[in-house]
């Protein structure tokens, strides 16, 4: 069953559809729809149609608002900045809404438990590749890195394979992919995904080779893990509800950063002179890649807010490799996650983890700047 439910309290977003059963049913009695009910598909198809139509009219509307309604000059600084903001903000938010929903649904087919089962006892190499790939689709929050780590260790997932997962899961995420696609095009987004996976695979493999198991806190090996079954049977309306919940969680959290980031980006776009960044962030400055990584490591997570700024920097002559390295360092290595992992890992292992991943990111930045 599927109905619309007005949420209370601090839910200031739209009315939220909730999949559930009549209150008299027992928890286990969820209606299992073998074939999804038609009305749900109709609703989804209608939403998709509205989405596509909105996407198509973005550019004409932004132009009409900037040049006809506000009567700004097409060549002026202000016109350029305003047009950039009015076009990019709805475009990125629309892309984000679509992709976050789809990823929310895809993630209902995966769970940390099923990933653990898939990776358990797998040898290194193949295991690193599988872990990096599963890192994209498995629901993961760095806040639950500790129970995940313990679960993986208990299932006999090699340490290096676990690290491949821990690098890929935060780095190759839908928010980063959407922003790169929306602001730089699909080639950059694809390169980011490919290189992100490569770093996760290689860094995990290297950490595995270093045999650092002695730096895992001993209590991890003594914990008795309970029954980890992931046999949740979900109907399509449950999955849709999860997609909408992902929408509220992710888009609801990052949209202010996206808007603020694009506003700053728009200002740079309109006012900073062409090639102003070339000397400090351009290809010529070899030190800019390590500097970008060193700057990015302590910064945390707001890829959403930082990316539009980077776009504007690149527009003004900063090298793409340098900018991508910066973004990867911000997203993949975060201080709060290291603090959380410290509960299961000795600091030596955390230092190696940061060092290996940072080195991989720098390498990617250098190669990128050389090739493109």
């Amino acid at each position: 069953m599927f109905f619309w439910h007005n949420t209370s309290a601090n839910d200031d977003m739209v009315t939220q559809p909730v999949a559930c059963v009549a209150t008299s049913a027992k928890p286990g009695d969820r209606i299992k729809a073998r074939r999804p009910p038609l009305p749900l598909w109709v609703a989804l198809a209608a939403a998709a149609l509205v989405w596509v139509m909105a996407y198509l009219v973005l550019h004409p509307i932004a132009n009409a608002l900037t040049y006809d309604l506000l009567r700004l000059s097409r060549d002026g600084h202000l016109g350029s900045a305003v047009n950039f903001f009015l076009y990019d903000t709805p475009k990125v938010l629309l892309l984000l809404t679509g992709i976050v929903f789809l990823m929310g649904i895809i993630r209902t087919f995966f769970s940390p438990e099923s990933t653990r089962r898939l990776l358990g006892g797998r040898r290194e190499g193949v295991g690193n590749v599988a872990a990096a790939g599963l890192g994209i689709v498995t629901p993961f929050c760095s806040c639950s890195a500790v129970p995940l780590f313990i679960g993986f260790v208990e299932a006999g997932v090699p340490l290096g394979v676990t690290f491949s997962f821990l690098v890929s899961a935060p780095m190759v995420n839908e928010v980063a992919i959407v922003l790169l696609f929306g602001l730089f095009g699909w080639k950059t987004a694809a390169l980011y995904v490919g290189l992100g996976l490569a770093i996760a695979i290689v860094a995990g493999w290297v950490i595995g080779r270093l045999r650092l198991e002695r730096y895992v806190e001993p209590f991890v090996y003594e914990i008795a893990v309970g029954q980890l079954d992931a046999t949740e049977s979900l109907s399509w309306s449950d999955r849709t509800a999860r997609g909408i919940q992902a929408e509220r969680d992710i888009v609801g959290r990052v949209w202010p950063f996206v808007v603020a980031g694009i506003a700053v980006g728009a200002a740079i776009h309109g006012y900073v002179p062409q090639d102003a960044m070339a000397s400090i962030m351009g290809k010529g400055a070899w030190w800019s890649v390590p500097a970008a990584v060193l700057l990015g490591v302590p910064m945390y997570s707001n890829a959403a807010g930082i990316l539009p700024v980077i776009e504007a920097l690149i527009d003004k002559g900063a090298a793409l490799g340098t900018a991508l390295a910066f973004m990867m360092a911000v997203v993949a290595l975060s201080f709060p996650e290291m603090i959380i992992l410290r509960r299961v890992l000795r600091w030596q292992l955390i230092a190696v983890f940061i060092g290996v991943v940072a080195a991989g990111i720098m390498l990617v930045g250098f190669v990128f700047n050389l090739v493109f």
Partner: protein, 82 residues
């Protein structure tokens, strides 16, 4: 008496789940006890690999996500009837 346990080590979502669970209990007006389990050994022993987990009357009903207010109300209402 419904026993509700939030399994999680103080993460933002864990706090949010606890608050939502308390709200649901208050709204339903059922007799319930809401506890927050933060010991990682206990969390793992209950088979929760992604926090926050939620257990109602000792049975883990959700892992790694914050169920919606409506879902929580159904879970708690069902448990109070049994």
């Amino acid at each position: 008496m419904v026993k509700i346990e939030v399994l999680g080590s103080g993460c933002a979502n864990c706090q949010r789940l606890e608050a939502l669970a308390r709200e649901a209990v208050a709204k339903l007006g059922v007799q319930a006890e809401v506890a927050h389990v933060t010991d990682i050994k206990e969390i793992m022993a209950r088979g929760v690999m992604a926090t926050p987990g939620l257990a109602v009357n000792g049975k883990v009903v959700s892992k790694g996500r914050v169920p919606s207010a409506a879902e929580l109300e159904i879970l708690i209402a069902d448990a109070s009837e049994l």
